[in-house]
Symmetry: C2
Subunit: 379 residues, 2 copies
């Protein structure tokens, strides 16, 4: 059978889990990976080892792919435009992806669209940060380099003009944002096809620790239907206006006065959607594949009343196998997802999903497994 070939740029865990989801779909999967040891390269048949920053490498990889998609957002947009000019569908395409690569471009566009965001503008130097602060409620202010940040990197909370110097050191434009007094963080995840079909997953609550996603609860507990619907419509509108194809994660702040503000965008499967592997009819990974191939999308509805995801971070055990065995024995319903990565302190090496009717019990099970695998607890 001549099922299409999906070319995935990047060999991380998102590529690994996308391959897993693509196997039952019968599609062919081709991977461009930095090293043969990368998380996805361990489990994919057709792997090219090479540097995604090199256009010749990308072009050679793209030959024989029916569509190109991504494990990360770091491929230079000029390379993506070159692939498009070669006639290779790139999904999401550069015109969309630039909004996930450059926070300045993203803020400017969302501002034009009237999407609620934290107050923000590009700042020129520390004195300009003080001016930005004075335009609102003063310090503290959030500073972000417009490119290159993730998982808390490239983000600073500054309380004085003196503290505002380091973000400017890299020579990358710096975006200032008001520090939002949020009650919690949410994520509205949607998937959109080239022909415009779109599905919205339930809005989830996401908890970060040290800037890294720690726990996701689906659906967000106590979120009213009105605000949930508003968040979903916002994400669908952003996906359509920006021409996103594939999975779009819209990270949101929920404010004390019952509004949502857009924090970040990610145009790929996202940590806030890992719960869908075991908690939704169709996972974010399966729907991402379906979207980039312009196949009809799968049902995004939840299969359980509550699903909780906790990330497993590297901790005290260089080898987690014994802890993993313990967790399986303790909870036969636990869904463990390991990425095949070497353990380094704080590195995301896997996640666990639990689901059920009782949120406290479901949360405790996921929390326990993640903490036990990390070595934070031993019983």
């Amino acid at each position: 059978m001549t099922f299409p070939v999906v070319g995935m740029v990047g060999g991380g865990q998102l590529a690994r889990m996308t391959h897993e989801a693509g196997i039952p779909l019968g599609i062919r999967f081709k991977l461009l990976s930095d090293t043969p040891q990368d998380s996805a390269a361990q489990v994919v048949s057709d792997v090219v080892i090479g540097d995604y920053r090199d256009l010749a490498t990308l072009r050679a990889f793209a030959r024989g792919c029916d569509v190109i998609t991504f494990d990360h957002e770091h491929v230079p947009v000029e390379h993506l435009r070159a692939l498009e000019a070669d006639g290779i569908p790139v999904r999401p395409g550069p015109a969309a992806l630039v909004h996930a690569q450059d926070k300045g471009v993203m803020r400017a566009r969302l501002g034009e669209l009237g999407v609620p965001c934290p107050r923000n503008r590009i700042v020129a130097d520390p004195a300009d940060v003080t001016a930005f602060a004075a335009e609102g409620d003063g310090y503290p202010v959030i500073l972000k380099t417009v490119r290159g940040g993730y998982d808390g990197k490239g983000v600073w909370v500054v309380r004085t003009e003196a503290e505002a110097a380091p973000p400017f050191a890299a020579g990358v434009p710096v975006l200032a944002e008001e520090k939002v007094d949020f009650v919690r963080e949410l994520a509205a995840n949607v998937v959109r096809s080239p022909h415009g079909q779109a599905v919205a997953y339930p809005v989830v609550e996401s908890t970060q620790v040290d800037g890294v996603c720690d726990t996701v609860v689906a659906p967000a507990p106590g979120l009213g239907e009105t605000l949930a619907g508003e968040a979903q419509r916002l994400a669908l509108r952003i996906a359509a206006e920006l021409g996103v194809v594939g999975h779009l994660a819209v990270e949101l702040f929920e404010t004390a006065d019952g509004r949502v503000l857009v924090n970040e965008l990610a145009m790929r499967p996202h940590n806030s959607g890992h719960w869908t592997q075991d908690g939704a009819v169709t996972s974010q990974f399966a729907n991402h594949v379906r979207a980039v191939l312009d196949l009809p999308l799968g049902d995004p509805r939840p299969r359980a009343r509550w699903t909780v995801m906790c990330n497993v971070l590297g901790g005290d055990y260089p080898d987690m196998y014994q802890a993993y065995l313990h967790c399986m024995a303790r909870d036969p319903q636990l869904k463990i997802h390991m990425y095949g990565k070497d353990v380094k302190p704080g590195r995301k090496v896997g996640h666990v999903n639990t689901y059920g009717d009782d949120l406290a019990e479901v949360t405790e099970r996921a929390r326990h497994a993640a903490d036990y695998l990390r070595g934070t607890i031993t019983e």
Copy 2:
């Protein structure tokens, strides 16, 4: 992380789906496949192409594997004993596997254990078949070569002594069995670990067409708790007595007078367990991997009231992609599993799973998709 390596002998769809289930477990998967085009070889990173009938090939493959398991039951038991003598865990081991390879050995052992089976004995020639018939209710009689049969191959229904000649042509011992007047076929599937932990899946109803599995309904509709429990206990007892490690499928006849008789055994993931991928907390493939690694087993309970699996057989479409697209559009909850195999008439090239609360509706959805993919229906 030093997670173990599972060596899988055979590159068919069972190996493909076992790899899929092993990815989240973080285990390493190594495949011995006849050709690079085999279903599993398309999706696995570490593939050795070679002939499983050759001991030197098997030995070379087994080096670097922590355990060997199987996509099929055709590896000669003397080779498996040689691997065990080399110190490689083989699961299921040859002492168990011989019962799935040789129907004569299986019937003799089940007889010793007092397991209810159709009346049977090895027959010497057509005249002996007539004698066997006369010992019971006469013709028709089922004849099976003791080795080499599957999916209806190696099985004959004979009505006269003249018809009884062909099975003897191959020079393989022939087993005669009474033709059971069953009301339906069931399967009791269990998974067992080396240390003796075992789990039982709900007993399912299986419908064969032309000797090939067509539809599986989980759980078997209208099956009383008593008979269901009896079937599960029977399967657990067979697994323990025969020393099975991994997934064991016990195919059963349900008789009009409310008994179950053992038809066949399969010691690997089995077509009657494909529903577990979308319908159970832990799939048969994930539990097979957990069992062969002696990891604690996952919960076998169903996630939906009803799950229906229909096989997709090759039919009118050499390329099913357009039909597949149609099926996704018609039913966003449909779970399609394609094997990446070339379409040949009657060949198993995939299956679909559906689940829900209304058995008629769930069955119609699976039936429609399987028939549409095959080309039997066009709307």
